[in-house]
């Protein structure tokens, strides 16, 4: 049975540079060379994200390994219509890195984990990763982020790259929870605008928020 799946993946993998979705089909079929190729393609982005969030080379390596291993095991659960393979993969990296940072913060240290046979414990798959983000260019996103008002940019970065909760952000920045909430929303709406994406009226309106 699995041989048939392998053959299909092999036949469709004929072009010199297989697409990401083909590689993911290879992962689902248990093809190590597909994992190898996907890793070659995105390991640097994944490691950059994991390092940015964890601030630690060793933890970042663990995050990248766990994320790719999670993709390896869960490739069959990727839904093509909901976003690119790249973004799906990077969203897994992001989730994992935030998990690691959060677990590390309150308690002292994680127990030593083995090196050769690490098995990630219940890795969260992203439920939202977006259609468009895989096609955006890094310079455009950087510009959009730079265009945000400082306080909005700050809360979004503390949350998304710092792994801080709204309560922690409120303490850190010294503003009420409602303000954190409205700043995050305004930041995301502002980013959408800068990126040339549509902004629906419901996104504009905040409910129960403090002053921005």
């Amino acid at each position: 049975m699995s041989d048939a799946r392998l053959d299909r993946a092999a036949v469709s993998g004929a072009p010199a540079a297989p697409g990401d979705e083909e590689l993911l089909a290879g992962l689902a079929a248990g093809r190590l060379e597909a994992l190898d190729a996907l890793y070659e393609r995105y390991a640097s982005m994944a490691y950059g994200i994991a390092r940015r969030i964890t601030g630690d080379d060793g933890l970042a390596e663990d995050v990248v390994q766990d994320a790719f291993l999670g993709a390896w095991r869960s490739a069959g659960r990727y839904v093509p219509g909901r976003g690119s393979v790249k973004t799906w993969l990077l969203a897994i990296v992001h989730h994992r890195a935030i998990d690691v940072v959060r677990r590390r913060r309150p308690v002292a240290e994680l127990p030593e984990e083995s090196e050769g046979a690490r098995t990630p414990e219940r890795l969260t798959l992203p439920d939202v990763w977006g259609e468009v983000s895989g096609r955006l260019d890094a310079a455009l996103v950087t510009r959009a982020l730079d265009a945000l008002p400082g306080p909005q940019r700050e809360v979004v970065e503390l949350a998304y790259f710092g792994g801080l909760s709204q309560t922690e952000i409120a303490e850190r920045v010294g503003v009420p929870l409602g303000t954190v909430k409205s700043r995050v929303r305004l930041a995301l709406v502002g980013l959408r605008r800068e990126l040339g994406l549509t902004v629906s009226p419901t996104l504009e309106a905040g409910i129960g928020e403090g002053p921005p």
């Binding site: 004929a14 640097s44 490691y47 950059g48 994200i49 970042a60 390596e61 083995s114 050769g116 709204q166």
Partner: protein, 287 residues
């Protein structure tokens, strides 16, 4: 933190920006997820803001990870296949269709396959002096033995020490010219260790976490080259402390061969019949 057993639509919509940026506590995020999963109303803001948050990942500067990371990832992925943890695993639990996962001739080459192991030869070249490298690797594996053991402290220590000795012997062989090494791993990291096959066919295997054998049961080590039938490297038993070190003499193995351990009902099997308990792929030979 207040628990949110149920959220109204407006409340959920209100929390979506915090949800997609990961700023909610676990219970709050769970409440949002719960609402979104069951709400009959559409929540387009989830997709819109979710993709916006994810777009931020594009702005992060890529950094090349250490080269050894790929080896570790592929070794763990290969162990998944061997243990049946991967949904697409070709190796059924009864081990009857055992075959090297990455070497089928029918697989169209997507890219060159790197051996899913830490490349000991290049690691050694990168670290000097050589003795320090051997000690470093042994120490890492020793930590695994301690961390994974479930027995009392005294037995843990004895076990770790005995395992360390087995690993040391295997690493000594691994450092000799022409030796190839495979890291072995089983389901959920329960069994782990390494197998080294020397240029003359001498094989040293150190594994911990194997269930004890009983009666006539033995573990059999196999080398599998490409699509060829598995070749038995030798049999060994495991005592009640879950520890085994084995030295057997076998045909030599080339880099890329899979080394697998199966649990067999009796010694002397010529084809694997029992379940695969651990497996790994050999890397490039030591220089």
């Amino acid at each position: 933190m207040t628990a949110h057993p149920t959220l109204l639509c407006d409340e959920a919509r209100d929390l979506v920006p915090l949800y997609v940026t990961g700023a909610l506590d676990d219970d709050e995020a769970a409440a949002v997820r719960e609402h979104l999963a069951h709400c009959p109303q559409p929540h387009p803001e989830l997709l819109d803001l979710g993709e916006t948050a994810t777009a931020l990942l594009e702005a992060v500067e890529p950094v090349a990870p250490p080269p050894a990371l790929k080896g570790r990832l592929l070794a763990a992925a290969a162990a998944d296949l061997a243990s049946g943890a991967h949904p697409g695993a070709q190796w059924s639990a009864d081990g009857s269709s055992m075959r090297a996962p990455e070497s089928s001739a029918r697989d169209a080459p997507i890219s060159a396959v790197s051996p899913p192991v830490i490349d000991l030869a290049s690691e050694r070249a990168a670290r000097r002096p050589r003795v320090a490298w051997l000690v470093a690797v042994a120490a890492v594996i020793g930590v695994i033995a301690l961390g994974a053991a479930n027995l009392g402290l005294r037995r843990d220590l004895d076990q770790a020490q005995a395992y360390r000795q087995g690993v040391d012997q295997a690493l000594t062989l691994a450092g000799q010219p022409g030796s190839v090494t495979a890291l072995l791993a089983g389901d959920d990291g329960a069994a782990s260790g390494l197998a080294v096959i020397g240029a003359d066919g001498t094989t040293r295997i150190a594994v911990r976490g194997l269930a004890p054998t009983s009666g006539s049961q033995v573990y059999t080590a196999w080398a599998i080259e490409g699509d060829a039938a598995p070749v038995a490297l030798g049999d060994f038993t495991v005592t009640s402390d879950g520890l085994a070190t084995a030295t057997v003499t076998s045909p030599t193995a080339t880099p890329g061969a899979v080394v697998a351990l199966t649990l067999e009902p009796v010694a002397g099997a010529t084809a694997p019949a029992g379940p695969v308990v651990a497996a790994g792929t050999t890397g490039e030979p030591a220089g």
